[in-house]
């Protein structure tokens, strides 16, 4: 053997390691969620950041039995986005009010701009979904665009799995009918 490294690691940062696993597994999906809605890299970054800041603040109430970490984070993301829209509608300085605001470096702006471009098809689909009731639209987006399992989407929307299935069925039927030639 030429080199060797061994160490005894103290355990106190287990919670940070646990949260990092949750963060790493979900941050790209959440960034895509906001990139689909916002055309500005800084806004995408702020909303993604705000989602995780809120998640950290509500860790005490996190219960993985209710749909798992992804459902929990998407539930938070939906609230973060709704609040962002409310503030924007009232002409408030949305970004300054967000806890997760951080000025982006140039390479981050470029990276996020690429992700916003990547979500073009998703944005177009979202626009087509505006004809659907809010809950149906949200169900379809979470399952078909964000890749959540139905049980996760149900938890994120705080509805039963049965209710989610009904919303999905109705949403897909409505979409199909809307796209059929008249």
């Amino acid at each position: 053997m030429s080199t060797s490294s061994t160490a005894a690691v103290a355990p106190p940062d287990r919670a940070v390691a646990d949260f990092e696993a949750i963060y790493r597994a979900n941050v790209q999906a959440l960034t895509a969620f906001f990139a689909r809605r916002c055309g500005e890299p800084q806004v995408v970054a702020d909303l993604t950041s705000e989602t995780f800041v809120q998640a950290i603040g509500s860790l005490a109430s996190f219960d993985p039995r209710r749909g798992g970490a992804r459902a929990w984070l998407f539930g938070i993301a939906r609230h973060v986005y709704a609040r962002h829209c409310e503030r924007a509608a009232h002409g408030g300085h949305t970004l300054a009010a967000l806890a997760g605001h951080r000025e982006l470096e140039e390479d981050e702006i470029e990276d996020l701009a690429d992700r916003i471009d990547d979500q073009r098809a998703g944005r177009e689909l979202l626009e087509r979904l505006t004809q659907l009731p809010e809950l149906e639209r949200a169900a379809l987006e979470l399952v078909d665009l964000d890749g959540l399992a139905p049980r996760e989407a149900a938890a994120a929307l705080n509805i039963s799995r049965g209710a989610l299935r009904v919303r999905l069925f109705r949403a897909r039927t409505r979409l199909r009918k809307a796209e059929e030639p008249s």
Binding site: S5, A8, V9, R24, I56, L59, E108
Partner: protein, 178 residues
């Protein structure tokens, strides 16, 4: 993981690291549940994944050893040392990563097994960096049994972004062709 996501994580830890407190185990089912030894063994048997169990005497949390023949041996005896192991591998320039296997990870499936390079008698995984194709990462799955034992499953090279965890619970096991 992109620059944005890495920087955001660093900032979250710097600013909010002290607030990362999960509720006590009574309120929370438990930390991301790791596979039981039986479940991991089933996966290993079906997919020929090589599994090693850590020793029972109080060993170091981890060891990353570069051998004379250029291979790298990873030993892990404490689940919290995954980050340290990965930092060590990165420092050594080895395209390998230890990944926790959890039952609530949203990333399903587990890479196909990586050929050879292991010694079950030493409870370690040995990787030959020269066999890892450019742009690929050798994945070492890490599971902890309810008794606290660490099990390592050396898996295939993965070309895409390596996820933070794997979930093999609902995996459909298909016997491999000889």
């Amino acid at each position: 993981m992109s620059t944005f996501e890495d920087r955001l994580w660093s900032e979250l830890v710097d600013v909010h690291g002290d607030e990362m407190r999960f509720p006590p185990s009574g309120a929370r089912r438990r930390r991301p549940a790791l596979l039981t030894g039986t479940a991991l063994a089933a996966v290993a048997a079906a997919a020929a994944v090589l599994v090693f169990t850590a020793g029972t005497t109080a060993p170091p949390a981890y060891a990353v050893t570069t051998n004379a023949d250029g291979t790298v041996t990873v030993t892990l005896n404490d689940i919290v040392a995954i980050t340290a192991v990965n930092a060590e591998l990165a420092r050594d320039g080895v395209a390998a990563k230890a990944i926790p296997i959890t039952s609530d990870c949203p990333v399903h499936g587990f890479p196909n097994p990586m050929p050879a390079g292991t010694d079950p008698n030493t409870y370690t995984v040995t990787i030959d960096p020269r066999q890892i194709p450019a742009g690929y990462t050798a994945v070492v799955g890490v599971a902890q049994t309810p008794a606290g034992k660490i099990e390592l499953a050396q898996a295939a090279f993965r070309s895409a972004i390596v996820p933070a965890c794997f979930n093999v619970t609902p995996m459909v096991l298909v016997p491999r062709k000889p």
